[in-house]
Symmetry: C2
Subunit: 324 residues, 2 copies
C-alpha cells in the first residue's frame, strides 16, 4: 500500500514478475485498490495502512491490521517466504522486529542498499544505509560479515572485497569506532577486508561491500541520489537552452532515459534487505517505479532460494561463539 | 607548488586574475617552475615543498622552507593578505595554525566548501567539510555562525538560511550531538536556523549554509563529487554505444563540457576558506584547473575587501562572551 506512486506500480510489478517466475505473489492491503489478473497473484486483505509521515514505533503498535504487519504475520506463519515493501521503512523495521525478531546476537537489522557501479554490471552493497545511527565496532564487524554473505549470494563473488567508509584511506583517518573496527576486521579471516574507502570511490569497482554506521550510510546514499538527480536536471536544462543542445538532447533522450531510469537512478535500484532480521524482508525506495519493484521481487526470490537468512544466522552464531 | 596539475595552472590563473584585478600576486615556490609575464606577479622563492602524500603535521614542522609555510609567513608579516593553495590541505591547516594561530575561542578552523545548487547561481556553503572529525554541539554552533557570515559576504544574502545535515528532517532524527546543536541553534537569534536537511536536498535551493562535523562533510562532498563524475562517465559511455547516441553527443559535447568543467564539477568549484584561522586562507581541490584557481583568487579578494576574518573574530568573541 506504500510508496510515492501508490499500489499500481506494485500490482504492475507483480504481474510482470509472475510471468517470468514460478513464485507466487500475495498482495497485502486494501482489496479495492489491489487487483489480480493472474492465478499466481492473490490479494490478502488488510484494513489499515501505515502512512509515510507516521511515526513507525507508535503506529505499528496501534495498528494490528496494518498491511505491513499482516505481511510479516504471513511470513511468520509460513504463508509467505519474503516481504517486499515500498512503504515507510521505519515501520517495516519495527513490524519485522515485532513479528519475526532478529537473528540471535543482532540488536537491530542493518539496511543493505545497492548502488550502481561504473564499469561493473553488479551493484555495490552499502550497509548500514540508515537503520542504526550510532554503531559500535562490533556491530560494524557484524555488518561486514552479513554484507559479505549477501554480496556473495547476489554477485556470485566468492570473496567479496569489504571496505569501511571513511574520510581518507590512511590508517590514521576515521574516528575511534572506525579505527577499532578496522583492527578487528583486519584480523577476521572470514572477511576479505581491504581497508578504508572514500565516498568518491564507492561507485567505482574498488569494493563489493561498503560498511558504515546508518547515519553515514544515509548521507552517502542520499548524497549520491541527490547529485544524480541534480546533474541530470542540470544537463537537460543546459541542453534545452540552445538549438544545438535541443537537437543533441532529442537524439540522446532515449539513451539518457534508459540510463537514468535504470542503473543510474539510485532511487530505483532494486530493493534493500533488512539483514539481521529472522526472515527475509526487502525495503524499496518510496520513489520506486515498477522496474525497481520487479528487481526487488527478483532479489527476494534469489535470497530465498539461496537461503540467505539461514546462512546469516549460522555465520553470526559462529562469530558470536568465537568472540565469546 | 601543489595540486594534481603542478604549478602551471596556478601561473595561468594568476595571469588571468591580474588582468581583471588591481590586486597583486606572489607566487611562492621553486623559481624555476614559476614564471611571471606581468608587473603584478612576483615570484617568492621557497626551497622546500610538502608533497600530497606526506603527513602534514610532521612534514610542516621539519620543513621550515616549505612553500606553504613561507606563504603564511608573508601573511603574518603583512607582505600578503591571503594565501591560496591547491596543495596538501592538511599541511595548509597545520602551517596556518602554526604561523597565524586561530581566532580566540576556536580550537581548529573548519573548511567551508562550496557546492553548486540547481536553480541558483550562488553555491551552498558546506562546513565543516573535512577538518574536524569529531565535533561538539558548541563547535557546530560556531561553524553555523562563521558560515552565516561567510555566506552573507559571498552571496550577499542578509539572512542566510542555516541547516544541520542529518538523516531525516524530523526532530527525533540525528544523534545526541546533532539534537543538542539543534536546540542551541534554534535559540540563537543571530542565526536563521531552519532545522535539519537531508543529503539529497543540499544541492537544491533550500539552505544557504549546511553545517556538520568534518567526517560527515567529507562524505557528503566526496559522494557528490564522485557521483557527478560517475554519472558523467556513464552518460558519455551510454551515448558512445550507438550511432544515434554519438550524433547526440557530438551536438551536446560543448554544452556538457561547459557544464561539467564549470558549476557542476564540484572538484573545480572555487576554493574553500579555512574559517576560524587568524588570517585569510583558501584551500583549493587538488584537481583544480585554472578556472577553479581563478575563482579561488576572486573569493580571496572578495573576502579580504569585506574584512571576513575581522568580522568572524568579532562574532566569535561576542558569542563566547555571552555563552560564558
Amino acid at each position: 500500500m506504500g510508496g510515492d506512486f501508490g499500489p499500481s506500480v506494485i500490482v504492475e510489478a507483480a504481474h510482470r514478475f509472475v510471468e517470468q517466475s514460478c513464485s507466487e505473489i500475495l498482495l497485502v492491503g486494501d482489496p479495492k485498490q489491489l487487483t489480480s489478473a493472474s492465478d499466481s497473484i492473490k490479494v490478502v486483505p488488510a484494513s489499515e495502512v501505515v502512512e509515510m509521515h507516521e511515526s513507525p514505533s507508535t503506529v505499528v503498535r496501534t495498528k494490528p491490521q496494518a498491511s505491513i504487519r499482516v505481511a510479516f504475520q504471513l511470513l511468520r506463519n509460513g504463508g509467505a517466504q519474503a516481504v517486499v515493501s515500498t512503504g515507510n521503512s521505519g515501520a517495516m523495521m519495527v513490524a519485522g522486529i515485532m513479528e519475526l525478531g532478529t537473528i540471535k546476537g543482532i540488536a537491530r537489522p542493518a539496511i543493505a542498499a545497492l548502488l550502481p557501479r561504473l564499469g561493473r554490471d553488479e551493484p555495490v552493497v552499502l550497509l548500514d544505509s540508515g537503520a542504526n545511527v550510532d554503531c559500535s565496532a562490533h556491530q560494524l564487524l557484524q555488518f561486514a560479515l552479513m554484507g559479505s554473505h549477501y554480496a556473495r549470494l547476489l554477485l556470485g563473488d566468492e570473496q567479496p572485497r569489504v571496505a569501511l567508509l571513511s574520510n581518507g584511506t590512511e590508517e590514521s583517518k576515521g574516528n575511534d569506532v572506525l579505527r577499532a573496527a578496522s583492527r578487528i576486521l583486519a584480523a577476521e579471516r572470514r572477511i576479505q577486508f581491504i581497508g578504508y574507502i572514500e565516498a568518491n570511490e564507492v561507485m567505482r569497482d574498488r569494493a563489493d561491500v561498503v560498511v558504515c554506521d546508518g547515519f553515514t550510510g544515509n548521507v552517502m546514499l542520499k548524497a549520491a541520489e541527490g547529485t544524480a538527480h541534480v546533474v541530470r536536471e542540470a544537463v537537460e536544462q543546459g541542453l534545452r537552452s540552445s538549438l544545438r543542445g535541443r537537437m543533441g538532447l532529442a537524439l540522446a533522450a532515449p539513451i539518457l532515459r534508459k540510463l537514468f531510469r535504470g542503473r543510474f537512478d539510485p532511487a530505483a535500484y532494486g530493493g534493500a534487505p533488512l539483514l539481521g532480521l529472522e526472515g527475509l524482508a526487502i525495503v524499496c525506495h518510496g520513489a520506486s517505479n515498477s522496474n525497481a519493484v520487479l528487481n526487488a521481487l527478483r532479489v527476494a526470490e534469489r535470497c530465498h532460494r539461496q537461503r540467505l537468512v539461514r546462512e546469516l544466522s549460522t555465520a553470526i552464531e559462529l562469530l558470536e561463539a568465537e568472540m565469546g
